[in-house]
């Protein structure tokens, strides 16, 4: 195992940490909103999926960097 593999793993680990917290916060707030107002579930869901997609994109950036480090 070389150093570069450790760096690839660290990129993914650190890069996955923040989006994981972000997605957790987004979904927990959306669930609270749906619980308080179940009729608005469809609208809340759309916005939630958008927010999750934005947060997830950060993890995907670090994934792309990790893949490039690993395979290029």
């Amino acid at each position: 195992m070389s150093d570069s593999n450790v760096i690839v793993g660290a990129t993914m680990a650190i890069g996955g940490l923040a989006p994981a917290i972000a997605i957790g916060l987004i979904v927990s707030k959306a669930l609270e909103a749906i619980g308080r107002n179940p009729e608005a579930a469809a609208k809340v869901q759309t916005v939630m999926i958008l927010g999750v997609a934005f947060a997830e994109a950060i993890a995907i950036y670090s994934l792309v960097v990790a893949l490039i480090l690993k395979f290029v």
Binding site: A42, K43, T46, I49, L50, A53, E56, A57, I60, Y61, L63, V64, L67, I68, F71, V72
Partner: protein
């Protein structure tokens, strides 16, 4: 036998200077399939026959139309064709990468003296060039819809000389349009390519049965990413085509 993963699409043949890659072949086949489906569907609508297959397609299109209507109630008719085309193309091009034979059937080729495996097919959206093309197309159509609705007033958002703060905000808006291209392209490419790497690694570790649940996951991811791409385009178009102030 080593794990064979290539981050870029491999050329399968050359047209003069132009390299025709395996991802382009799959995207072309998906486009062809969608076009044939659209033409035969419109003929089915005119003929008035009953067919369970076309009824199924009609159900999908109608439920997607309702979804578009829930986000852009007034202008759903204007935006629906573009958004639905993006959605269907991205979804089918991602799913094409999961078909048996894709990324597994190919030839051994000599590239710069090294023997490399070159598959004939590769998932359409598992290539950064194609997702980047889609992203540029989506962002340009956002500007076009904004211009068609608001006229020259639309560009005042980017070039506002009324005071220094507005000028700086407009500059940031201009940068965010370019950031959108990057985030559209990398989100789709990253998700689909990561899925293919995951499937390859699992199939490498446990050759039979173990990849089945991950196949289900990848079908879901392909659908969600197509939905996210289409929804984001729709939301941005809707914002651009609504006058502010």
């Amino acid at each position: 036998m080593a794990l064979n993963i290539s981050i870029s699409a491999e050329p399968i043949f050359n047209l003069g200077q132009f390299e025709f890659t395996n991802s382009m072949l799959v995207s072309l086949l998906v486009t062809l399939g969608l076009s044939i489906l659209a033409i035969s569907f419109s003929q089915y609508l005119k003929s008035g026959r009953k067919s369970s297959f076309f009824m199924f397609i009609q159900t999908i299109i109608e439920s997607f139309y309702e979804f578009v209507q829930s986000i852009a109630p007034q202008q759903a008719n204007r935006f629906f064709p573009l958004i639905a085309s993006i959605f269907l193309f991205v979804m089918l091009a991602s799913w094409a990468g999961l078909l048996p034979g894709v990324e597994t059937i190919g030839l051994m080729k000599n590239i710069d003296g090294v023997k490399e495996f070159v598959p004939f097919f590769r998932g359409g959206t598992a290539d950064l060039n194609i997702t980047l093309g889609l992203a540029i197309f989506a962002v340009i159509s956002i500007q076009v819809y904004g211009y068609k609705t608001l006229g020259m007033k639309y560009f005042k958002k980017f070039f506002d000389f009324s005071n220094p703060i507005n000028f700086f905000v407009g500059f940031l808006e201009l940068i965010s349009e370019f950031a959108r291209i990057m985030s559209f392209a990398f989100r789709l490419f990253g998700n689909i390519f990561a899925g293919e790497v995951l499937l390859a690694v699992i199939a490498f570790l446990i050759p039979i049965f173990a990849s089945l649940p991950f196949m289900g996951l990848e079908i879901f991811v392909g659908f969600i990413q197509a939905l996210v791409f289409a929804t984001l385009t729709l939301v941005f178009i809707n914002i651009a085509a609504t006058s502010h102030h």
